[in-house]
Symmetry: C2
Subunit: 435 residues, 2 copies
Amino acid sequence: MLINRLNTFDDDFDSKLSTLLAWEEETNDGVNKVVRGVLNEVRKRGDEALIEYTNQFDRRSVVDAQELVLGEEELAASLAAISPDQRQALEQAAERIRVYHQHQTQDSWQYTEDNGTVLGQKVTPLDRVGVYVPGGKAAYPSSVLMAVIPAKVAGVEEVVVVTPAPDGVVNDMVLAAAAIAGVDRVVTVGGAQAIAALAYGTDTVPKVDKIVGPGNIYVATAKREVFGVVDIDMIAGPSEILIVCDGNTNPDWVAMDLFSQAEHDEDAQAILVAPSEEFVERVYQSIEALLPTLQREAIAKQSLAKRGALIVAKNIEECVDLINHIAPEHLELSVDDPESLVPAIRHAGAIFMGRYTSEALGDYCAGPNHVLPTSGTARFSSPLGVYDYVKRSSIISCSPAGASELGKIASVLARGESLEAHARSAEYRIAEDEK
Amino acid sequence: MLINRLNTFDDDFDSKLSTLLAWEEETNDGVNKVVRGVLNEVRKRGDEALIEYTNQFDRRSVVDAQELVLGEEELAASLAAISPDQRQALEQAAERIRVYHQHQTQDSWQYTEDNGTVLGQKVTPLDRVGVYVPGGKAAYPSSVLMAVIPAKVAGVEEVVVVTPAPDGVVNDMVLAAAAIAGVDRVVTVGGAQAIAALAYGTDTVPKVDKIVGPGNIYVATAKREVFGVVDIDMIAGPSEILIVCDGNTNPDWVAMDLFSQAEHDEDAQAILVAPSEEFVERVYQSIEALLPTLQREAIAKQSLAKRGALIVAKNIEECVDLINHIAPEHLELSVDDPESLVPAIRHAGAIFMGRYTSEALGDYCAGPNHVLPTSGTARFSSPLGVYDYVKRSSIISCSPAGASELGKIASVLARGESLEAHARSAEYRIAEDEK
């Protein structure tokens, strides 16, 4: 069987689906121990430890930490090194991402009450953000655009990219994306040591306020450990797509959209649900025919067999129930009238509407972010956005009359909580003639 | 010495201040082990385990899990049990909190491009939220209002409060606040077992999407463990205030404002910074005179001696630098023209402006939230707000023309990342005459 086949009519459908969806983040005591060691060393010894680990893990022979920093020249060189097509595509994508994320900016606000008391909220960008970019095979320039541009739109002054350079090699497309996105500094370090440097700061890597970006288990574990010292984005699980189709899309298109998820890695999850057994059968045949033509056939095959599924549902309403149950990272509504389904959809990272909107368009250049909540966390999490790069401060400015009024309420409540100093502090502000 | 005395002129000022500000969250292998055990048992055995732990830790003799649930009657009874003054104060505070947080609501938005492609963002409230309310001495009805009202403003359908009832006793003010805030269900369970029940669900406690609210080290550890299964708010450190005063506020007011922080617990931090040695001396004298008059003198005394400080600065600009360095949870600007300082302030949870705006007013009833980022996390975190109870979904709806255009860009980038199925999925959407 190339891919799991389920039918919502089946008695054991719920348990089969649960098994398929189950995903537990890998934790490993060995990894935890290594990571804690690396974090401690970099925290204590700074650049010295950072150089040691980088030379050891990335097979380099760095002597001076400044060798780790890529300057404007190297970034400019990478822009020249990629093809004009690639450069144009990166620039077009960057511009679209920028325009979309500008809609997410939030303004400070305040209002004044009758007695002159002012209440409000001040929105301030983070000072400095670190972006982790994996090296090697999973070096994705698109992820550089997606992580950096919202930070710049938010007004973050300094964005630092860390990326490993195994054997001294960095991907030109990644550097070109960094240049286009407006990254302020690139440091060629990776792994837990890079996360440590960003969280605690070294002479070469400045301490940041937030670290975003995916990485292997060492990187993810390190991010979890430094959470609280700095902010982090979510620890991502494997990528997933749920395609809902009414049965009228070209089955080859649907198969290829499933593949575009399955080709990521063996744990990626691609699911189709359709209210038509006949259509599901046709998609199965497309999968059978097209799978052998893929460059990444081996990975896609494993992913589909292990975690993929074609599901036959009773009707479109049941498809919507499944959407809300699964809370998919990516949701394709490959139907005639996708707008009619949207109001009922409560949980999805990104909704790709209509037969023409394949996930791949959103992954690269539609504009919305491709960093999305995985493993059902769309129930409570959002796409990476400008809102992740700002924080808010409450503004409270009481007029004497306002303070007097509020002082009376606060006094009663504070005494009810046995916090007498709170009460007395409030009571000082009550006007003499109202005491 | 009642409180630490520092002067920014001192050679060792920076290191002294660092020592004073240092705070590491307590971690304890013994606690971790106990908590993991409790989480596993409740996850596996549901209500049965919940009852066992509750009977054991809270000295109760519950037989049926339904005994743990408080209904509308109990909530109504608590409203009748508190004094009319207290009820009115709670209602006034609730109304002000509601009005303030209504300014934080966010609308879904979308825009249409020339070729008909629609991009947007859908904002959806979380389905169900759990609020942990500590029992015993630290039972704060104001915290119930602050956690629940923003959730209700956000549109969360179901808010579940869990709170321990040692020996079967629950604080009437807490229940009254729950009733006023519109809590849907109160379950009298606490500790790690309550967090487990909220995260995994039992027959009696529904699984939630997010858990908020403070608790002891068992509760905090359990929240950390279930993070990812559900969302959590920040793990709070001890509460802190930084007061900046120009030297013209009544020193008794400043002293009492420092006490209102110091009385919370021995680890709370109260700091004054003023550009006047003479004024700082007067505040010291006020502290000396007023401290013995406090009901919670013992706690405040320990807190001030251990973590409090009076700091003499060169000038008001240096005070602002200190604000941004400390990134305080609560900031009082006890000066003539607080507005002039606000633009330069980058990091603060809540800013209390002018001599009349004491923190206590904001703690209870000004309107903004009193759940604020502690221990310098105001660098990257925000007050609890409506935005914590919603999530966003990206909307992408490509017209055939839009998909054709985007398909060309996506194809180049996907092939650059060696993700061929992504490229082919995009290329399917390129119009025949443009291929």
